[in-house]
């Protein structure tokens, strides 16, 4: 019951925080466009007045891509460095904007103005950056230990059975996914708690996050695990919709853009729902949060 209540409350809170969701979506579109639009210009220049683009109407044509020659190498470098920049910018932006989001979500019926949102974002930034950095480093290390090491070991192993390595890798990924769910929970509890405090300290917040996660492990984990599965399924659905969709008219391309941005908006909303559900669960368990 506690979980359902958290879901319901989280969902309501996330809807109330729509302004925050719009800000997150807009920032994402803006930052990605900073990389994608110059890239589009470069691609356009590489193809010039060629009609070979007709070959791309049916989808990606690897021969055409390879024929780009030096331009393809430049585009690849541009894409990879752009992606690195975006991950970095996204990480910082998430640390910033999550402050506002969590602040909006802390009361179920609270509506917040944009100014308040950014004020809260700024106030929580350093603490949230610390929480995100520490949890991300832990995830990377655990990823290496839980998935990287077994995969590396298996690739050098002449096992009799081919099924065994396959199963080991699958289990590794599942274990990693489970650990990520737990660490997400820690981060969310920590951030949820942090926005209620005047004095900002990422270590104290993380302490609370770990404490709360393991004190209320079963309902918390189950709730987070289900939300993560929803997110994974949603991502697969997006891939299924956008991947094979190949509009051949200008209006179709515009529709593709609108639908893809709507889907991303929903994705941000689901993430906010996650934040809201964790906040709600925390408030249900101990509204005064005097655990630390």
């Amino acid at each position: 019951m506690k979980i359902f209540k958290a879901y319901e409350s989280g969902f309501r809170r996330s809807l109330n925080a729509w302004k925050g969701v719009v800000i997150v979506w807009f920032f994402s579109l803006l930052s990605v466009s900073l990389v994608a639009l110059p890239m589009k210009g470069a691609i356009k220049a590489a193809f010039g007045k060629s009609m070979v683009t007709d070959k791309l109407m049916g989808g990606l044509d690897v021969e055409v891509l390879v024929d780009l020659g030096a331009s393809l190498r430049i585009l690849t470098h541009f894409f990879s460095s752009g992606l690195f920049f975006l991950i970095l910018a996204g990480f910082l932006a998430n640390s910033f904007l999550a402050g506002g989001l969590f602040d909006t979500l802390k009361k179920s019926d609270n509506r917040i103005s944009a100014a308040e949102f950014f004020r809260a974002s700024a106030g929580n930034f350093w603490s949230f950056l610390g929480i995100s950095s520490i949890i991300s480093i832990i995830i990377i290390i655990i990823g290496f230990l839980v998935v990287g090491l077994p995969a590396g070991f298996i690739s050098n192993l002449h096992a009799d059975s081919e099924k065994t390595p396959y199963i080991i890798v699958l289990i590794s990924i599942l274990v990693f996914f489970t650990i990520v769910a737990i660490l997400n929970l820690v981060a969310d509890y920590a951030r949820s708690w942090q926005v209620t405090k005047e004095k900002k300290s990422c270590f104290k917040a993380l302490g609370f996050g770990f404490n709360r996660t393991f004190r209320t492990f079963f309902p918390s984990f189950l709730m987070m695990f289900i939300i993560m599965i929803v997110l994974v399924l949603f991502n697969l659905l997006v891939l299924k919709i956008l991947g094979p969709w190949r509009p051949v008219t200008g209006a179709g391309v515009l529709l593709l853009f609108i639908v893809s941005q709507l889907l991303f908006f929903v994705k941000v909303l689901i993430k906010t729902w996650r934040y809201g559900s964790v906040t709600s669960l925390m408030e249900q368990s101990n509204p005064d949060d005097n655990l630390v």
Binding site: V52, T53, L86, V238, V248
Partner: protein, 695 residues
């Protein structure tokens, strides 16, 4: 040319321990023998009885008639020792001197010695300086080597390295014969040998209890007569074992007995004639193979065996038990290849075919061909949309034709087996699995098999350092695969684009008719092309197609045709100035402006090929121009009311050697929709990706 019918062609079965004398029909006269002594009469009886046995045993077992001249044959008794990872063997073999020369030596491959140390030619060529562990070493030790009359030949045997003079390489052995072999005579040898298998499988070896055993017995080189292939003088063609080369041998008959522990499942390139249980935990399997250039086999307790029939061919698949979901895929692939090659090249002449999907631990044996046995390559749970197992199966089966039946020299002209076979593999894959999805067929990404070859060739920075006309181990800058597989397949597609698909098929049918079970060279293939193209198209492409091969096979140039510009120039000023045009102007309404429309085409590469140029005008007219493609540029000029809207050189992308399709066309109004769509998807992809990386 020898008349084979007049010769007594020895079969391997006649080389019993009691009958090792060289035998040739024109070497004895029965009436003369009858008139000699009693001893001779007894000899005659012995010979007659042996001849009777021969008559019985010489009868073809697999095919009614021999498909190839019986130049070499082998009878081998081999025992696999799974404790010491060795094969202990006894071999009787013959070689018939079909030349008109007196031959003073025989040369044999001793290829397992390539694994003897890290200083062999094999390991030198792969730049492996790390010393080999004892288990990684392989070798073949000859214990006894005698002639038919029992004479010990070992003292007159010596290793030598005809290709690189490497003193550490012992993969070719030369045996000086006590007496020169006369034309028509037969050399028979008896060899006791022990082959130690290497633990790191590189086409041959073992991994744990998995064995793939190839190049495991002493095998005759090919004695080439003057005029054969490129020979100026007769001699042995017996190359060393190289890292990037396959093999060359005579079509032979093989009678092979293999003894293995009972639990082992064996697959070979032969037909199983008999299986006996020796009662001591071992079994002996007797195989017969005819008209194949090599005999390889595999043994592993983990195989599951499946058989299916395709017309006259019994197909056997050996596959790990964990990959059973791929059985149907594998059979479909091999049957498709059989059907396509039978229809477009020639019949598959053997009634049996075995193919193997090695387990992961034996993956070093994957993707290799020994005519009637070949290995595929796959892995557990490979998605159906990735056609890699099918592609490997189709490719390796194709070698039954391009190397097996049409036994070109893989050392000296690797394009003839790998390149031609890749061309057919790509045609088969794209025919049966989809024109655009022969390799990958997923809604998100589709790739044809023929694209892979063109991509590899076009994107290679070393595509111009060497021509296709090179020995396999001499390709510099790691260009062996790109040149012999991908470039060849790409120029064969280009040839097909020029002369047409049906003419191409007819070329290969004729190539099969002329050269099946012989050793064709590149020039023999070109001669077939020239004959068929001349018969089909007359002089349309000139007196021969040598101009094509000079540029593609023997040349290093690239092909690149481009549209450099298109103009539509108003002729208004000319109309005003010219009285002649003034007359015209009077007749023209105001909106009927005249244009000089120019399509500017350039040849940016060195290769000159005939190309089509399609020009589309604003009023919907289209003109298809043919250009011989020889000049550096060509302008097509049209004067009239119509303007050029777009131009395409090689509009159907038939010239697949063209290294850049992007510059093949030009339009006033490019279609930007795919680019906008692509950008939209990139934006979404990045948004979701970055979001996944943030908490």
């Amino acid at each position: 040319m020898l008349n084979l019918k007049k010769k007594f062609i020895p079969q391997i079965s006649q080389i019993g321990e009691d009958n090792l004398q060289p035998i040739c029909a024109d070497k004895f006269d029965l009436r003369e023998i009858l008139l000699t002594t009693d001893l001779m009469k007894k000899t005659l009886l012995t010979i007659l009885s042996l001849m009777f046995i021969n008559c019985v045993s010489n009868s073809q077992i697999i095919n009614r008639e021999p498909l190839s001249p019986r130049i070499t044959g082998y009878r081998i008794e081999a025992k696999l020792n799974t404790e010491s990872q060795t094969v202990v063997g006894y071999m009787e073999a013959f070689w018939v001197n079909y030349s008109s020369d007196m031959v003073r030596d025989v040369q044999l491959h001793m290829y397992m010695n390539a694994f003897k140390s890290n200083k062999t030619t094999l390991y030198s060529e792969i730049n492996s300086k790390a010393s080999l562990k004892e288990t990684e070493k392989g070798r073949i030790d000859i214990q006894t080597f005698t002639a038919a009359d029992g004479a010990n030949l070992l003292p007159s045997a010596q290793y030598f390295s005809p290709d690189d003079g490497n003193l550490h390489d012992s993969t070719v052995i030369q045996v000086i014969l006590p007496q020169a072999v006369k034309p028509g005579d037969t050399v028979s040898i008896k060899v006791n040998f022990e082959t130690k298998l290497p633990s790191r499988i590189r086409r041959t070896g073992y991994a744990d209890d998995y064995y793939f055993i190839a190049q495991w017995f002493p095998k005759f080189g090919v004695y080439e007569t003057t005029g054969m292939r490129y020979r100026m003088t007769s001699g042995w063609n017996c190359h060393q074992f190289h890292a990037h080369s396959e093999f060359y041998a005579n079509h032979s008959v093989y009678d092979v007995k293999i003894t293995v522990p009972n639990e082992y499942i064996v697959g070979t390139g032969g037909l199983l004639l008999d299986e006996t249980d020796s009662g001591d935990g071992e079994k002996t399997l007797t195989y017969r193979a005819e008209d194949i250039p090599d005999f390889a086999w595999t043994a592993w307790p983990g195989y599951k065996v499946f058989t299916e029939q395709w017309e006259h061919v019994k197909i056997t698949l050996l596959i790990p038990g964990e990959r059973l979901e791929q059985v149907e895929r594998q059979f479909t692939a091999v049957k498709n290849a059989l059907e396509y090659l039978t229809k477009n090249v020639g019949p598959y002449p053997w009634p049996h075919l075995t193919f193997v999907d090695p387990p992961a631990k034996g993956s070093g044996a994957g993707g290799m061909e020994y005519t009637t046995i070949f290995t595929s390559a796959s892995f557990f749970k490979i998605p159906v949309c990735f056609h890699v197992p099918e592609m490997v199966t189709v490719h390796e089966f194709g070698h039954a034709y391009f190397m097996g039946i049409l036994a070109s020299n893989e050392f000296e002209e690797p394009w003839m087996d790998e390149g031609i076979n890749s061309f057919w593999e790509e045609r088969i894959m794209d025919h049966y699995w989809g024109e655009n999805s022969g390799m990958i067929d997923n809604p998100l990404l589709r790739i044809s098999d023929k694209s892979i070859s063109r991509i590899s060739y076009v994107s290679s920075g070393s595509r111009q350092v060497v021509s296709n006309n090179e020995y396999s181990w001499n390709y510099p800058h790691h260009t062996y695969s790109m040149m012999s597989y991908q470039k060849t397949a790409t120029w064969l597609y280009t040839l097909m684009g020029i002369i047409g698909e049906e003419t191409t098929n007819e070329i290969f049918r004729e190539y099969y008719r002329r050269w099946a079970f012989k050793h064709p060279s590149g020039k023999d293939f070109i001669n077939v092309v020239n004959d068929i193209v001349r018969n089909t198209h007359g002089d349309e492409f000139g007196p021969d197609m040598n101009w094509f091969f000079d540029q593609t096979l023997y040349g290093t140039g690239i092909c690149d045709y481009k549209v450099s510009d298109l103009h539509n120039i108003k002729l208004e000023s000319a109309l005003k100035d010219s009285t002649l045009v003034d007359t015209l102007k009077k007749n023209l309404p105001a909106h009927d402006t005249l244009y000089k429309a120019v399509a500017c085409i350039e040849r940016a590469g060195e290769v000159m090929l005939p190309v089509d140029v399609l020009i589309h005008f604003t009023n919907g007219d289209e003109v298809l121009e043919s250009w011989d493609g020889k000049a550096r540029y060509k302008d097509f000029v049209y004067t009239g009311k119509r303007m050029i809207e777009w131009i395409k050189v090689d509009p159907e992308y038939k010239i697949r050697m063209d290294v850049n399709f992007i510059n093949n066309s030009m339009t006033q109004d490019p279609n930007r929709i795919p680019l906008r769509r692509f950008t939209n998807k990139i934006i979404s992809l990045m948004q979701f990706f970055v979001s996944a990386f943030t908490l």
